[in-house]
């Protein structure tokens, strides 16, 4: 049984213009100890997906369909109280901004001890010992003195380490990290990512990494999920997706990176921008920006096609699989006005 199995998840936001579906038909699994990356641009729904796993979607958003099976239990139907025993305990979350999670008026020790005692019957001294041990694991120098400091006394990279230590405090089996290093500098980012990778690996913890950075995904994760306009468009082993992406959007994302082009040449841009959730084009949501668009793409939603280890939602890929000769890519310069 998979550690986490998300089936057909649908999340809607009731806005004044009517309900907007932020997530549609999202299904994926995370195995024990597996590292999964969810990639997408802003507005793709990747953060909504992560938040909905922990039932952290706030009004006017709600889960309108689908199930989230975590160790066989459907999280979508749990009460707040039942959810609290899972959140932070079995599944931990790491946010983009460390100051969002750390209370500025409590010392690190107070926060960590409180967190431990909320979930376990444990003496303060024991809790403190565990906290120090976790701080040591995330390579905080001299954890015995650091534990009595306040969050503002620490640098950004140090705070993100503390967040990871707090996430590990109750020995979770799954960590959800929402853009954990976006606010940090490159050199610090590399260190935090390495730390996260090693800790998940050595403790056999599953990781869902939400990011827009394909480089980070390729270094950290084993499986990648690419999202566009609230749907998964491609998922499969990270290596396959990075080296041999099937969906035109994934290809476009990878090719748009400056390192994929000879310096000085124009970058391979994807024309246009992601549609807003209120105005998603019919058929395949990517069709107005796609170089390979066919008539079918404008009318019918593509279903998933297996291609190697990946599954891809694209009419073109399906047609190629069925009959490789018939499909000719359209010349992009003529197609888009």
């Amino acid at each position: 049984m998979a550690l986490l199995e998300v089936n057909n998840l649908e999340v809607s936001f009731g806005l004044r213009q009517g309900a907007v579906k932020a997530l549609r038909n999202v299904s994926f699994t995370v195995e024990r100890g597996e590292r999964v990356g969810i990639v997408g641009e802003s507005g793709a729904g990747k953060s909504v997906a992560a938040f909905s796993i922990l039932n952290l979607i706030s009004r006017p958003g709600e889960i309108t369909d689908g199930e989230i099976l975590f160790e066989g239990q459907n999280l979508a139907t749990l009460s707040d109280k039942q959810m609290r025993s899972i959140r932070g305990n079995r599944i931990a979350m790491i946010f983009q901004d460390p100051m969002m999670t750390l209370n500025p008026v409590l010392t690190l020790g107070q926060q960590m001890v409180e967190c431990l005692q909320a979930h376990r019957k444990i003496s303060t001294a024991d809790a403190r010992a565990i906290a120090i041990e976790k701080l040591r694991q995330v390579q905080i120098p001299s954890p015995e003195t650091r534990i009595d400091q306040y969050p503002h006394e620490l640098s950004g990279g140090m705070r993100q380490r503390i967040i990871i230590a707090i996430a590990l405090l109750l020995d979770p089996v799954l960590i959800i990290a929402d853009e954990p290093t976006t606010a940090l500098d490159v050199t610090i980012q590399a260190e935090i990512m390495e730390l996260l990778l090693n800790l998940c690996d050595s403790n056999n913890v599953g990781l869902i990494l939400i990011t827009h950075d394909l480089g980070v995904v390729s270094q950290i994760t084993q499986k990648a999920i690419v999202m566009y306009a609230g749907r998964i468009i491609e998922q499969g082993p990270t290596k396959e997706i990075i080296n041999d992406a099937q969906h035109p959007y994934t290809q476009g994302l990878i090719n748009a990176l400056p390192q994929q082009t000879v310096p000085g040449q124009r970058l391979n841009q994807i024309p246009g921008s992601m549609p807003s959730l209120q105005a998603i084009p019919s058929g395949c949501a990517f069709n107005p920006r796609c170089d390979f668009v066919m008539d079918e793409c404008k009318t019918r939603l593509p279903e998933f096609t297996r291609s190697g280890g990946c599954s891809v939602a694209c009419h073109m890929v399906r047609a190629m699989k069925q009959n490789p000769e018939t499909v000719q890519p359209v010349d992009s310069s003529e197609e888009v006005k």
């Binding site: 490159v186 050199t187 480089g215 748009a256």
Partner: protein, 338 residues
């Protein structure tokens, strides 16, 4: 004009910000006496470089290294605390607002945050027309409108959208409008302060392409501020690496990426997440970036440098020219031990 004359020269630039507050806040009680204490953020500490016509000089560094302060000082948004800035040989850092006006037309700026850099209460046409009218009072309404239309078409925004307000556009479109605003005055020199860091990957490529196109068509010179080294490799003619307000290394892009010399540059380059390698293999730096309030003595990088020795802790390294055209500020390179 001499072709080899730099378009912009920065000499020994210093910028300090006083963070000690009012006079009353500065008074501290120490050792039984009341003393007046002033604290400064040392944002730029003796930075010198030239920008040559037609090139794209990229300034890279991590947050707090003073790269944005350099951009803002060059544009006259901040007054330098020391040193000088010359534009085509004329000193511009000490000019009054009025005397700066002719230079304002030639030097323009593109900002980081596309959501804050356009006035939310003005339509796109108003935003784009205002600078044209202001600098060319003799132009008729139709001439102004034609100029704006031309620039909007250049950056890929349909001119009929000019009557709309900024909030009706996406981030990438707004950044195009920002670029259009900079181009309305036909500048020669454009300072771009992290123009793509707030944008999505696919949009970053569009905006970078647009900037390269504008460079070719309008013969622009760029001073490009960024933290993203992969963009630099693609876009820059030369690269200046900054750390804690000082210049570590200044080199042609190819040279820098092929043979980074300064230990900090090496660490920075190794930290870029790349698609090819599957495991992170970066050079680990000790500790964290010190605050620019209390600068370390000697080389500002010595506390984190794996090769630092006693000399690095006391003596500030000079920028030294190497054979391959790069300039490095490092005692280790100078002594030949690195």
């Amino acid at each position: 004009m001499n072709a080899a004359q730099p378009i912009l020269q920065i000499k020994d630039l210093y910028k300090r910000f006083n963070i000690s507050g009012d006079f009353l806040d500065q008074l501290k009680f120490e050792g039984g006496k009341i003393v007046r204490k002033q604290e400064h953020v040392h944002a730029i500490n003796g930075v010198s470089f030239d920008v040559m016509p037609g090139e794209a000089l990229c300034v890279v560094g991590e947050s707090g290294c003073g790269k944005s302060t350099v951009a803002r000082t060059v544009m006259g948004l901040l007054k330098p605390s020391g040193g000088s800035i010359h534009y085509k040989g004329d000193r511009i850092d000490s000019l009054s607002d009025r005397a700066l006006l002719p230079y304002r037309q030639k030097m323009q700026m593109i900002f980081q945050n596309p959501y804050a850099s356009l006035n939310p209460r003005k339509t796109i046409n108003q935003t784009l027309e205002e600078p044209v009218r202001f600098h060319n009072p003799q132009m008729s309404n139709t001439e102004v409108a034609d100029k704006v239309k031309e620039v909007m078409f250049d950056v890929g925004i349909d001119p009929s959208w000019g009557v709309r307000f900024p909030h009706e556009f996406s981030g990438g479109q707004r950044q195009r409008i920002s670029i259009a605003r900079a181009l309305t005055l036909d500048p020669e020199f454009v300072v771009a302060d992290e123009p793509i860091s707030a944008l999505d990957v696919s949009i970053q490529a569009q905006v970078l392409n647009l900037m390269m196109k504008a460079q070719e068509e309008h013969n622009l010179t760029y001073l490009f501020i960024t933290h993203d080294l992969s963009v630099v490799e693609h876009f820059g003619t030369r690269v200046a690496v900054m750390y804690l307000g000082t210049l570590c290394e200044l080199a042609p892009t190819k040279t820098l990426f092929a043979t980074p010399k300064h230990p900090y540059t090496q660490a920075l380059l190794s930290a870029i997440p790349r698609l090819e390698d599957n495991a992170p293999s970066h050079i680990r730096l000790q500790g964290e970036v010190p605050t620019p309030v209390n600068l370390p003595s000697g080389c500002v990088f010595h506390g984190r440098c794996p090769h630092a020795n006693e000399r690095c802790k006391v003596e500030i390294p000079e920028l030294i020219a190497c054979d391959d055209g790069s300039k490095v500020a490092c005692h280790g390179i100078e002594e030949g031990r690195l």
